[in-house]
């Protein structure tokens, strides 16, 4: 009887039967997860809830949305717009170039090691970030950078316009270093999942290459591409360490949070810092839920 109640209707019965000796005490089986769940609650969920408890606290300690509102207005709102702008830009660049690179890597057949090299390197570069990445681009595209000098040699003054490593264009360039390889890793399985038979079927039905991409290729890839875009957006939006080295000002949301946490603010103001963090968690949560849903959809074609 207990089995029937603890199993949701549907496939539950079949699973229970197939693994009968192991699942006869279902409710007790969940106890095995307790240490893991307790650890997560203590060191991840409690800090996250604490952020919200501070963010939703008014000037006199009462519950209220004043700080959340303040975190979304004035300079803070500017920071959100700036962060969202460059994160969306970085995600768009990473998505397009990453997909292109993955397509090239997937179509390479001749030097056989080349494809493996691209995937292996992507695995490394997608995890690159933090201080070393910022240092690398400072020495390439900083005011005294090697690349800046090289460009000067061919008559291009990188700093003639409003370029700066801490500005939108600069951050997009720097973040592309991990965004492009991350997109390669996300999209490559999907591109491999495009079956040659589909292309053949398309052409034997009278379609040409563009018909194939419009009607088959892109629709199949769409969930992966969109999912990748969201992942890259979230990745760029939450990055702290690299940005902290590229710019001193706190017009980027993560740096602004760090500034408020640094404690150089008056007593009532620290709640704004927590409210910024709370908004960031909300945005990240929405992004990750969308990514998760899209990934599920994309996996249908990857067998």
């Amino acid at each position: 009887m207990a089995l029937i109640f603890t199993n949701p209707p549907g496939e539950g019965g079949a699973v229970a039967r197939a693994t009968a000796p192991f699942t006869s005490q279902r409710s007790r089986s969940w106890l095995g997860l307790v240490p893991f769940l307790a650890f997560l609650v203590l060191f991840l969920i409690v800090p996250a809830i604490s952020v919200f408890s501070q963010a939703l606290r008014g000037a006199n300690g009462e519950f209220g949305f004043a700080s959340m509102g303040e975190a979304f207005s004035g300079q803070n709102l500017d920071a959100f717009w700036f962060s969202i702008t460059f994160s969306a830009g970085a995600a768009a660049v990473g998505t397009i170039l990453g997909t292109l690179l993955a397509y090239v890597a997937a179509s390479i057949t001749r030097p056989r090691w080349l494809r493996n090299a691209v995937t292996a390197f992507s695995g490394v570069a997608a995890n690159m970030g933090g201080l070393p990445l910022a240092f690398a681009f400072l020495s390439l595209l900083g005011r005294q950078g090697l690349g800046t000098k090289l460009l000067n040699g061919v008559g291009i003054d990188l700093y003639a316009g409003d370029f700066g490593l801490g500005e939108v264009t600069g951050l997009i360039t720097v973040y592309s270093y991990f965004n492009i390889p991350l997109m390669v890793l996300v999209i490559l399985p999907a591109i491999d999942g495009l079956k040659p038979a589909w292309r053949e079927a398309c052409s034997s039905l009278g379609g040409n290459s563009s018909t194939y991409w419009r009607r088959v290729g892109l629709p199949v890839l769409a969930p992966s591409i969109l999912g990748g875009f969201i992942l890259l957006f979230a990745n760029s939006f939450s990055a702290y360490a690299t940005a902290a080295q590229l710019t001193d000002n706190s017009k980027i949301v993560p740096l602004r949070i760090g500034f408020f946490l640094g404690g150089d603010v008056s007593v009532g103001e620290d709640a704004v810092g927590y409210a910024l963090a709370a908004w960031m968690i909300v945005i990240m949560a929405v992004a990750m839920i969308l990514y998760w849903a899209l990934r599920r959809r994309a996996e249908r074609w990857q067998s």
Partner: protein, 273 residues
């Protein structure tokens, strides 16, 4: 025809541009740190002059360096150990008894993406006044690093277990009289050597790369030292960054090497290649 143009011209061109984009920043950093020539004076003729590791040696001799590196190594050791103690039993349990909970557990392990390091450290700052006895210690970073590493460590252990016939192993071990703990220590762990190794290496990479939490909590880990040291000696700071990059890259390469041949062999044995 168009396909051939793509393969012969466009594809190599794209790869070349990509290679330049990914290699040039690293080269520029190496040159800045290790070549004692100002950018303004740099010509093609002196590109290979005056390279030296001296900035790195002077960074090593800073008296804060040893302390920062020791702390980061301790953190890496603790993070790796606790990750394994937490994950191996949990994932074994999930595979054996709660296969339907697998996707839920996997979802939980990507929560550190939802609550990024800067969000997490904001929460830690809230708790700090109530838990000074714990958070004042530098080693209190360990559990938070375990959480940050979860998306990586979970995947490495999980895929290692997927490749095993876990049920048969456990049934054999249990029917021969081993209890749960001895089964895990003497039967499962030896079969998971590769996955455990990747898990440990990944935690080292995470600990060596984590800056946000250490920076806000003012803990003097290796990355925090690197950022601070750059202020007084840019060349040395960049040299340390190169060093940490080399170590991290080696780690990912080793993981790639130890985890690939085995699965390839198995695939061949199954006849799918």
């Amino acid at each position: 025809m168009r396909g051939r143009v793509f393969g012969r011209v466009v594809a190599p061109l794209i790869l070349l541009v990509a290679a330049a984009f990914f290699i040039l920043p690293l080269f520029a950093m190496m040159r800045f740190a290790l070549q004692n020539v100002q950018v303004i004076d740099l010509r093609w003729s002196n590109l290979f002059d005056k390279w030296s590791l001296a900035p790195l040696w002077s960074a090593f001799s800073d008296d804060q360096f040893g302390r920062a590196l020791t702390l980061s190594l301790k953190l890496a050791f603790g993070t790796g150990l606790i990750s394994l103690l937490l994950l191996v039993p949990t994932i074994v349990w999930v595979h054996l008894r709660l296969p339907r909970a697998r996707s839920t557990v996997e979802f939980l392990t990507i929560l550190p993406y939802v609550i990024p390091a800067i969000g997490m450290v904001a929460g830690i700052m809230v708790i700090k006044p109530h838990a000074r006895w714990f958070l004042n210690s530098d080693l209190s970073l360990i559990p938070f690093y375990v959480v940050l590493a979860l998306p990586f460590t979970f995947r490495s252990i999980d895929s290692g277990l997927k490749a095993l016939d876990l049920r048969t192993l456990v049934e054999a071990s249990r029917s021969l009289g081993y209890g749960w703990i001895r089964t895990i220590v003497h039967v499962i762990v030896p079969n998971l050597r590769t996955a455990i190794l990747s898990c440990l290496f990944l935690t080292v990479a995470v600990v060596l790369g984590e800056y946000t939490i250490a920076d806000v909590l003012l803990k003097r880990t290796f990355p925090a030292f690197m950022g601070e040291y750059r202020g007084s000696d840019p060349k040395g700071g960049y040299g340390l960054a190169i060093l940490s990059l080399v170590v991290t890259t080696l780690i990912f390469m080793i993981i790639g090497l130890v985890s690939r041949p085995k699965s390839a062999r198995r695939r061949r044995a199954r006849g799918t290649i």
